[in-house]
């Protein structure tokens, strides 16, 4: 996590196990991306299997699960889709609902955009096509202010995460009810642990930590309160808009 601002402002920067983002030659960069995606892979393992089982139980066929994971590729949206198909909801209503569930990706895509100004439009489209909550979180935590993202590195993260999702959901659908306890071991906690680690690294990345900690507290609070009245994905949008503003204003005052 060698972010330039951190390198100049901080004298005792703790080391992390993460190498530089996307500065290496393409093959190396792709391999670095694959390595950075390991926590996402661990998380998708449990949720992917769980989704496959749920989808199969709801009457979705194995090839349908595979196609859905290949072209839709969105965890919570796939659970919602399966639920709505099983409930016999009309296609148009399902598609509108999925748009509302996934519209939060606008924020992820916008937040990545300053880091890919040097890339071609088709490269940015490819990167965006495989953006998820988890791949965004991993990628963003490696990109300090003004640091350019390598296309090869980003595709490494995206492709291995996507491949894991397709394989695990399909395997889950094939095995179906043969898997009785998908929560065994604790892999279902992998993504929560990943979000926790990335949040700490992000806070550590800011020039001063107070505004970031305040933003995180506000973000967590708004996310929970808002999810009592709106769907969880909208609560994330509300929390992001409020918390990012709080963080930016506090950091400007501290400067």
């Amino acid at each position: 996590m060698r972010d330039r601002r951190q390198a100049t402002n901080s004298t005792n920067t703790p080391e992390t196990d993460l190498p530089d983002a996307g500065q290496a030659p393409v093959g190396r960069a792709y391999a670095d991306g694959v390595k950075d995606a390991v926590p996402v892979v661990m998380g998708y393992l449990a949720i992917g299997l769980a989704f496959g089982v749920v989808a199969k139980t709801a009457g979705i066929t194995v090839p349908e699960v595979a196609v859905m994971s290949l072209i839709l590729y969105a965890g919570s949206a796939q659970f919602v889709t399966v639920g709505l198909i099983a409930a016999g909801v009309p296609a148009s209503a399902i598609i509108v609902t999925i748009f509302l569930v996934n519209v939060r990706h606008l924020l992820y895509s916008a937040a990545i955009s300053p880091h890919v100004r040097h890339l071609k439009s088709w490269q940015n489209a490819l990167i965006g096509a495989e953006l998820t909550d988890e791949t965004f979180a991993v990628a963003a935590s490696r990109l300090g202010p003004g640091v350019p993202a390598g296309a090869g590195w980003f595709l490494g993260i995206n492709n291995v995460s996507h491949a894991t999702w397709v394989v695990c959901t399909t395997v889950g659908a094939v095995l179906g009810s043969a898997i009785t306890d998908i929560r065994a071991l604790g892999f279902d906690f992998a993504l929560a642990a990943m979000f926790a680690a990335l949040l700490i690294l992000q806070i550590n990345n800011r020039p001063t930590w107070m505004p970031a900690v305040a933003a995180a507290a506000v973000g967590g609070g708004v996310a929970l309160c808002a999810s009592l009245v709106v769907p969880a994905s909208w609560a994330i949008i509300a929390a992001t808009l409020v918390a990012a503003t709080v963080g930016m204003v506090l950091e400007e005052r501290a400067a």
Partner: protein, 108 residues
């Protein structure tokens, strides 16, 4: 077997998902954003992560759940300590999986 109706639903859902994923990346990367917008966008990861973490820990089944039913709320304490202490993504994720497995073994 892939049913046509199901395939069309998946295809439609995929297209409306691609738009918010791709459009800002392609359009915003071509223009120079004002400094304040860029600084706001720099705070989006912290904001998103705190929201995702809060939901993952407090609402593991999609609704608010407290301990002892919600083991994630217990497990997050040692996991945050590991994260602060090691500043390592891999160690924190591995530690989280082990902590959760131990909690289930002891309390489950």
């Amino acid at each position: 077997m892939i049913r046509t109706q199901v395939f069309l639903i998946i295809l439609g859902a995929a297209i409306v998902t691609l738009i918010p994923r791709i459009a800002p990346l392609v359009l915003l990367s071509r223009i120079t954003l004002p400094g304040r917008v860029v600084r706001w966008l720099e705070f989006v990861p912290v904001a998103v992560l705190s929201a995702l973490l809060a939901q993952a820990v407090a609402m593991p089944e999609g609704r608010l759940l407290l301990p002892p039913e919600n083991l994630a709320m217990i497990a997050i304490v040692p996991v945050l300590l590991i994260a602060v202490r090691t500043r390592s993504l891999i160690k924190t994720v591995a530690g989280g999986v082990v902590v959760m497995a131990l909690l289930r073994w002891m309390l489950g």
